[in-house]
Amino acid sequence: MRSGRIGILYLAVQNLRRRPGRLVVSALGVVLAAGTLFALLLGFLGIQKSVAVGLDRLGADLLVVPAGAGGVTQEALVMGSPTMFYMDGSVEEAVAAVPGVAAVSGQVFVETLASSACCTGRVFVVGYDPTTDFTVGPWLTTHLKRTLGPDEVVVGNLLLYETGDLFKLYGTDFAIAARLYPTGMGMDETVFLPRESVYAMARASAERAEQELRIPPGAVSAVLVRVEPGAAPQQVAAAIRERLPEVDVVIRSRVAQQVVAGYRQAIQGVLAAAGAGLATALLLVGILFSAVVNERRRELGLLRAMGGGARDVVRLILVEAALLTGGGGLVGVLVGGGLFFLFQPTIQQALQVPYLWPSAPQLLGLAGATVALAALAGLLAAAGPALRMARREPYDAIRAGGA
């Protein structure tokens, strides 16, 4: 069996090619199940990466916002949904005094007016304090190597502007100093500028803008909090809530958990369908190989009579099954991955989840694991018929094989 061209692999390929129609129908279920599974896992990995990168960029462990604004803040963080609310600026000092708090930085949120052009829509604007900020500040120091001027902004990666372009906010022109690298989260659609520039823009808006921007003097929308090393963010959040009952506290780790849990909930149905599809496909492969073994009793009996051992028969059938389901898995990975690649922004928008593509080694690993799983499933499905055939005496098999 091992000499020349006619090895187990060659025989298996020739057997599969004998009935292409049956091959396609049997592999179709595996293609669908493997494709769905691969796409769902791609989604899962990408969301996890995006949340990790985005929240890391945020740099804060907690966000203190006015009571009732926790939900919209989370939406703004994850999807960049514009929002606007204010609280007294004294909250910043009060939060800084809470035990366990290492650093605080106040931010002002502004929602732009709807653009008359089709392509911009409403944009989320964040005014940060350059003296205390740990979200944009560190990036500016390492990449732009200077601080922002009062008439400059930094924009998220998804906003369609180039460095040097002018960006009009409530009638005031700002020059775009830089674009941030992608995070997959709301920051990609956010405009950052110094907090004082936001206050100045608000004051000028009464004369320059179609609609006046009203921000109470000295007000902030959120206070970003970094906790001391070793301090538990949950405990610090509880302490802040106890001291300041008029605020909500958004905990960074909980945002990540909620985003992933939301995706898990959204895909439960699809995952169940993929599981059912895979089970059905395996059942089909099992039935197919039972039929194949019955049809080819004579041929397999002759193989053994010519010196092939029982182990060779088992190997032949298992290699055929692994090729069929492994090949189906590979096509599934290509189709599922391709469709996910094309429709990723649509899925992201529909499920309201952030997304960043996993790294190349992760992608390859996931694709390899999916194909291997499909091949393994084929081996399991064909093991029964293969072992049954191997147990038959060659003479019985040839005689029972008919024509």
Binding site: C118, G121, L158, G338, L342, P345, T346
Partner: protein, 148 residues
């Protein structure tokens, strides 16, 4: 008519999808009847309106191709027209990105629906066309007649 010509029926399906899709299944931007107001007050068609029109025009061509496949008694019809379908598929796949691109905003409806759907349809047309042509070639080589 070649009732059993699967490639002909599939091509007809692609043609109908391209004609009906952009305004019914995978929408282009629909603001103000696909129009956009410029700063000077003039109304112009949005870019994706051209994408949709081109897709519909190509859909018509693909439908004609399907009818030829289904009605022709020419032996090499599937082989030659399969390759034509693959070429048209390539055009459909590249169209929303290069030839008649959709609008600029990544979150606009045309980029979330029409663009990926047209690329996927184009790739499916290419695969179907090449597979159909190859199968027709091997059938011709074996002396098989066109299905009646």
């Amino acid at each position: 008519m070649q009732w059993r010509n699967w490639l002909g029926w599939l091509t007809a399906g692609f043609g109908l999808l391209l004609i009906l899709g952009p305004h019914n299944l995978f929408h282009v931007c629909g603001d103000e009847g696909h129009m956009m107001e410029l700063a000077n007050g003039n109304l112009v068609h949005m870019r994706c309106w051209t994408t949709a029109s081109t897709a519909q025009g190509l859909g018509g061509v693909v439908l004609v191709l399907a009818l030829v496949m289904l009605w022709s008694r020419w032996r090499a019809a599937n082989r030659v027209l399969g390759l034509a379908l693959a070429a048209l598929g390539g055009f459909v796949a590249l169209m929303p990105t290069y030839f008649t691109p959709t609008c600029a905003g990544p979150h606009m409806v045309c980029n979330l629906q029409t663009r990926p759907a047209l690329i996927a349809t184009g790739i499916a047309m290419m695969v179907a066309g090449v597979v159909g042509a190859l199968l027709a070639r091997s059938s011709d080589a074996e002396g098989g007649a066109r299905p009646a």
